[in-house]
């Protein structure tokens, strides 16, 4: 089943690339639109492929003590990274690399903010070990 999936994904990518190439000479905006849409469809399909893996890893992490909540933070960070990377790539493709780097900076700040409780736990643990 996933073998057929990969053939379909590859075909969609090639068709989108060819259409974008055709449109690039006539109308550049529409070439960008076709590229964006192809990327969107491919990313949604990739996420559908990857969803069972994520649930499996979630089950695995749930067996550890306190692993489930830490794993939730990790998953959130990965989701934030996906969204930021996607938006930044779109901006770069449209020729706005300054905007892309701002979006990536915002993503880094968000990931840092999400990881803050973990950092606090770690600091408390190490302070406890040191007897402070």
């Amino acid at each position: 089943m996933s073998a057929m999936e990969i053939v379909r994904i590859a075909a969609v990518g090639v068709v989108g690339a060819l259409l974008a190439l055709t449109l690039r000479e006539e109308k550049k905006e529409f070439a960008v639109a076709v590229a964006i849409l192809t990327g969107l469809l491919l990313t949604v399909e990739i996420l559908r492929l990857v969803a069972p893996v994520v649930t499996f890893a979630q089950d695995l992490a749930g067996k550890l003590q306190g692993g489930a909540e830490y794993f939730k933070v990790l998953l959130k960070c990965i989701g934030v990274c996906y969204i930021c990377h996607f938006a930044a790539e779109l901006c770069t493709d449209s020729g706005e690399s300054a905007m892309a780097s701002r979006i990536e900076l915002a993503g880094k700040a968000t990931v840092m903010l999400l990881a803050l409780p973990l950092l606090r736990d770690l600091a408390e643990l190490s302070f406890g070990l040191m007897g402070l």
Binding site: V12, L19, L23, K27, E29, F30, L40, L41, V44, E45
Partner: protein, 64 residues
């Protein structure tokens, strides 16, 4: 996966390019620009819907 979306947007692009050429040859440059603008708006509304699908998929997979 809806590949017909890609075909639709490419078709709109080709149509707008042809209309643009015809209108510019006929000496109606303002209308040519308006046609381009209308095409871009139509395409963008189609894309925005797909972007929201992508973001909701990311949310459901990663539990955001």
């Amino acid at each position: 996966m809806q590949i017909d979306f890609i075909f639709k947007i490419a078709a709109i692009g080709i149509l707008v390019a042809v209309l643009n050429q015809v209108l510019i040859r006929a000496g109606r440059e303002e209308q040519a620009m308006m046609t381009t603008l209308a095409g871009i708006i139509v395409v963008l509304t189609m894309i925005v819907k797909e972007i929201s699908t992508l973001f909701s998929t990311i949310r459901s997979v990663f539990g955001l």
